[in-house]
Assembly symmetry: C2
Homo-oligomer: 303 residues x 2
């Protein structure tokens, strides 16, 4: 199946292009980007021009930042092509609902991808938790914004989501593995005096689960989820890649494919089945945190 | 059908109790409130005690503020009773999703009521707009917080929603009458230096619709929605109660019942049909505004 990539930046070159190159399902037929391109692949700067020139491209994958993504997504769906979206699937929930309606009306697949759900330990964690009751838990998601997003001012601007840009990965795993749905109870947001979006956040969720999200972590980085159940203790470390049960590493996950190859395999399956996958639960929790959150102004932040 | 009211405050006494007294469908059998009661009606201070004492009460209507409402709603649903919620149906979207799942599992009705959708002009406005295309529009929703919410500090606290407490009424009408779904593009939020929630907001929605929400309006109050279409101009004034088409008042709406009687008639129909009505579109737009909104600190506000 022929696919086009829109937005040839760091995440596209690091993850999407290699995943497509190795995929038995997909052939990268075109790119759309203001400045980026992929050697040997037909390159466009305008999405409508690409769609007209490539009726052979049945699927388009968008790697744009959330804010410009909506208009591009509408163009793809109006042209009757299947649509895959990087996380989060939009800048707002209401725009994603509009995309869902449009995809349904056009009879095409829409896939809101959450790459962290494809991390090596997640499926095994979900299987282990099935049928158990979670009594307590905590997410610790602490990384260095200067290392992972150097100079990316947009991420701390209104709509950039701040620390929820990485934090939504933790929430995407949590909402995937928990046996019962979780909801937000309270939230505290730390917003730098010279920015609009929080650089740190603490959440209290139902099932006595807390989340400690921080973008100011220098030195070792932490991406851990720990859950206590009626039948033992589970930990997912390294962003969902390392599973421990009762303190012991659970092996046998090394053969599973990487996050982005797994996402493209999933998209191929959805297109073949005429299905869609648009789970907004991680994004709903973030919107809830912005709605409910108690804001504290903290020290100005500069890259 | 026998019903109980939980939360006997101003809105319950002003609206819910008279609506139930006049209803051919409902018999108010019990109340639950820390301090309020209704003469001649069995009064409780604890919801579980009421549910145990009144197996005859098949339906419970909650008039509590959003934050304490969730735990009460869970008690009602776990007891297998039908549930009616004042607007907004919860403090967060994620908790309302939990309630929806629980109602489905219990096989009972859940109704998220939006009283402004029952204003006299709304159904006629929706009928007139059907099949038309909206080119441009504006909401002007300006009222005096000191008049309508004297001393209610919670409304300007985190989770209190600020100016969206009235503004969500406008959004509930807009999402009801528009022929095509609307989404948020940008938002500006004015937050008093001594408060957490916005006292004014300006929204840019799709279909070129703007919203000007302000809680600081002294003198005449304004609750207007104006829409320009390919086939004329519509205005809903007085909170949805007065309909004008091309500048001329559209008559014939005087026989329609009041907002709260209409809500209870709707609830009776849902219970009889074994159906539910849980449209979160107005709440999604508010959550989106908090997520995307550019915040400006404005003068401190005191009641």
């Amino acid at each position: 199946m022929r696919i086009a990539l829109v937005g040839i930046g760091k995440i596209a070159l690091d993850q999407h292009v290699p995943a497509l190159a190795d995929s038995p399902d997909w052939d990268l037929a075109a790119t759309v980007s203001r400045s980026g391109s992929v050697p040997g692949v037909d390159a466009f700067t305008d999405i409508d021009a690409m769609l007209k020139a490539h009726p052979d491209v049945g699927t388009v994958s968008l790697c744009l930042p959330p804010v410009p993504r909506f208009d591009a997504a509408v163009q793809v769906l109006r042209a009757g092509r299947h649509l895959m979206l990087e996380k989060p699937p939009g800048a707002t929930l209401s725009e994603v609902h509009v995309l869902a309606d449009l995809a349904r009306a056009q009879g095409v697949t829409i896939f809101a991808s959450w790459h962290s759900r494809m991390a090596h330990g997640v499926a095994a964690a979900k299987a282990w938790l099935a049928g158990k009751t979670v009594h307590k838990g905590r997410i610790i998601w602490r990384e260095d914004i200067r290392k992972w997003h150097p100079g990316q001012d947009w991420i701390l601007a209104a709509g950039g989501m701040g620390v929820f840009d990485p934090g939504i990965n933790a929430l995407s795993i949590l909402t995937e593995i928990l046996p019962a749905p979780v909801h937000l109870r309270t939230a505290e947001l730390d917003v730098p005096a010279n920015r609009q979006a929080p650089i740190a956040a603490r959440l209290n969720l139902s099932q006595d689960i807390t989340a400690d999200l921080d973008f100011r972590q220098e030195g070792p980085q932490t991406w851990d989820i720990e859950l206590q159940t009626d039948a033992g203790h589970l930990a997912l470390r390294m962003g969902g890649n390392l599973l421990e049960v009762d303190g012991t590493r659970v092996d046998g996950q090394d053969s599973i494919m990487g996050e982005y190859p797994a996402l493209y395999a999933r998209m191929a399956g959805l297109v073949r089945d005429g299905a869609s996958d648009l789970d907004l639960a991680p994004m709903v929790l973030v919107a809830d945190a912005f709605t409910l959150g108690q804001r504290t102004t903290v020290d100005p932040f500069d890259f």
